[in-house]
């Protein structure tokens, strides 16, 4: 008996996943870089005063190349590029995380209803999701921005609308195979309410894939936000956003290429760190796939 006990002593699941993740060097690098961005976003005001460095224009100091005084140089309005990038981290991460969180919430509710109740509710919901997903996501976001007007809140609404159908599908696909099974019947027989069944028994299985999916989704959202802001449909100046900064840099590409390089690198590093982390999480959650 003791032989069996010692073999199957349960290691904490989360601890096990963390252990596996730690072994993945690329994922750890991603985690470190992501933490740097996160800290910049949180402590942005400490690192660079918002009004003085990010917004205030200073014609005398415009278009200065990188120096010890201005780490990444100054832009066409004399604003410190480093300061704007640091505050830009706050904008990008906020939008990315908010969009994903709200999408999971909405998608979770709708997807659970579709999967759990099935029948005509399921059909109607999924047809609506299908139709929404038939519009290429950037176009959907563009149409919404076009109607609502540019700005951070509207951008948030626009990309959330484009994102939540995907989560609806994921959650529904996790619930569907489980719904018919007997342990659900058993739980019902004990008098457990529907909502509790979903929350406590079914959804915990979905957490893994959702976390992996979401990490990479935030990366894509950061890029999408930048793209939309670049074409003028997203965050409006003077708010610092990496894509918007790139839009402003176009005129000065020839003389001041650093204006293009640094905000772009910020986007790449942020997205890369999230992708590396997401990939590592996927391997850590299901190590079978590796060997």
């Amino acid at each position: 008996m003791s032989q069996i006990e010692s073999k199957y002593k349960k290691k904490s699941q989360v601890g096990e996943i963390w252990r596996r993740l730690k072994k993945n060097r690329a994922a750890m690098v991603g985690l470190v870089i992501l933490s740097i961005f996160a800290l910049s976003a949180i402590f942005a005001d400490v690192l660079a005063n918002y009004d003085k460095m990010v917004i205030a224009q200073n014609v005398r100091e415009r278009l200065l190349p990188p120096s010890s005084h201005h780490l990444f140089g100054t832009d066409e309005y004399g604003r410190d590029v480093f300061a704007r990038i640091v505050h830009g981290a706050r904008v990008s991460l906020t939008i990315g995380l908010s969009t994903v969180s709200i999408s999971i919430l909405i998608g979770g509710i709708i997807g659970s209803m579709a999967g759990f109740y099935g029948g005509i509710i399921d059909t109607i919901i999924m047809r609506i999701m299908d139709t929404m997903q038939a519009i290429p996501p950037i176009l959907l976001a563009l149409a919404l921005v076009s109607a609502l007007g540019p700005g951070m809140t509207n951008l948030l609404i626009a990309i959330t609308v484009a994102t939540f159908p995907g989560y609806t599908r994921i959650i529904r696909s996790v619930i569907l195979p489980v719904v018919g099974q007997e342990f659900v019947e058993a739980a019902r027989a004990c008098g457990t309410g529907d909502r509790r069944i979903i929350l406590r028994h079914i959804l915990p299985n979905a957490i893994g894939p959702i976390i992996v999916q979401s990490t990479m989704a935030v990366a894509q959202l950061i890029i999408a936000t930048a793209a939309l802001s670049f074409i003028g449909m997203g965050i409006q100046p003077p708010k610092p956003e990496w894509g918007a900064m790139l839009a402003g840099s176009r005129e000065y590409m020839r003389t001041s290429p650093y204006l293009v390089i640094f905000p772009g690198l910020a986007i790449v590093l942020a997205a890369l760190s999230l992708n590396l982390l997401g990939d590592g999480l996927r391997d850590a959650l299901d190590p079978r796939l590796k060997n």
Binding site: Q3, I4, K7, N291
Partner: protein
């Protein structure tokens, strides 16, 4: 005097991953004569499938490593052949049937195509396409499937019929040796009986020798001439059917195996089982590998590996004898 067909000599196989080394096969030796059926019996993880895969060099690349041993077939050491020669033996002189018919067939090819493939791969007599198709038809009829179904896809067949297709592919080139790895485990009991009956018929008709891997002693009794009991990568008992089923002396594990079969005529409160689990292949016990579970364990069992006692062909690896 029967002619020797296959001789496995002191085979050792390991599975190496980044995390650990799994000692799957630890010194297996076996002789199969022409026309014989040998059953390899043992629990899951004993090393039976690994041994079979080693014969055809089908171990997972980079992970399954044959560290020692020799496998003689028709005068050649199979392990030392060039890849092309190994390939020419696979499917034609030695065939293998795997456990799960549901996943053994390619879902996007018709069954006819899959049978034809093995025929064209080993097309010694340079048959034309039509001739190959005729052979496909004949093979399907032989396993009890109407030949007009050769244009159907695997998902259109039931489990039992899929396994028959797998068997048709395996016998297509008249192999001298057929290795069947738990061919009926995944099937219903009634279908099991049908498939086994068909295999018996084919064996008699084509005079194929067979290695049958199973954990079911009943199937062994029906299909095999000789039996090898495998435990933790070793053969701990070997003999003819009479030796294993009726002789006096047995390895304690064998006694445990037979004892686990519920007796229809006696009443029992609980099922008998052999206490404990098969040892962790990454961390094998010292001495006799069965000693932690053996009801007759003695001091010497913990320290020294037992020798093989050969009693007129009936071999037992145990300190008791």
């Amino acid at each position: 005097m029967s002619e020797q067909l296959l001789k496995i000599e002191d085979l050792w196989v390991q599975y190496k991953t980044n995390e650990c080394i799994n000692n799957a096969v630890n010194g297996i030796s076996l002789v199969l004569n022409k026309g014989e059926n040998i059953g390899l019996v043992g629990e899951t993880g004993a090393g039976k499938t690994t041994t079979a895969l080693s014969i055809l060099s089908l171990l997972p690349k980079g992970i399954g490593i044959i560290t020692k041993g020799k496998i003689e077939f028709e005068g050649q050491d199979l392990l030392k052949l060039k890849e092309e020669d190994k390939r020419s033996i696979r499917g034609s002189k030695i065939s293998m049937i795997f456990q799960d018919p549901m996943t053994s067939l390619n879902p996007v090819q018709t069954v006819g195509e899959q049978i034809a493939e093995v025929l064209s791969l080993h097309n010694q007599s340079n048959d034309t396409k039509e001739q190959i198709q005729k052979k496909v038809d004949a093979l399907l009829e032989l396993v009890g499937i109407p030949s007009k179904r050769k244009t159907d896809y695997p998902h259109q067949f039931s489990g039992g019929m899929k396994q028959r297709v797998v068997i048709a592919i395996a016998i297509a080139c008249d192999p001298k040796l057929l290795i069947a790895d738990e061919p009926t485990t995944a099937l219903d009991v009634t279908i099991q009986a049908q498939v086994l009956e068909m295999m018996n018929k084919l064996k008699k008709k084509l005079n194929t020798s067979m290695i049958l891997i199973t954990h079911d002693l009943g199937i062994v009794a029906e299909m095999c001439d000789k039996v090898a009991i495998v435990y933790s990568g070793e053969i701990i008992e070997f003999g003819t059917l009479e030796d294993i089923y009726e002789a006096e002396n047995h390895h304690p594990y064998t006694i445990g195996l037979f004892g686990s079969i519920p007796n229809l005529s006696k009443e029992a409160h609980r099922l008998n089982s052999i206490g404990g689990l098969m040892p962790d292949p990454t961390n094998l016990p010292s001495g006799c590998k069965f000693h932690p579970r053996c009801p007759k364990c003695m001091d010497i069992c913990k320290k020294e590996e037992p020798n093989v006692i050969d009693n007129n062909g009936h071999k037992i690896k145990c300190h008791l004898f």
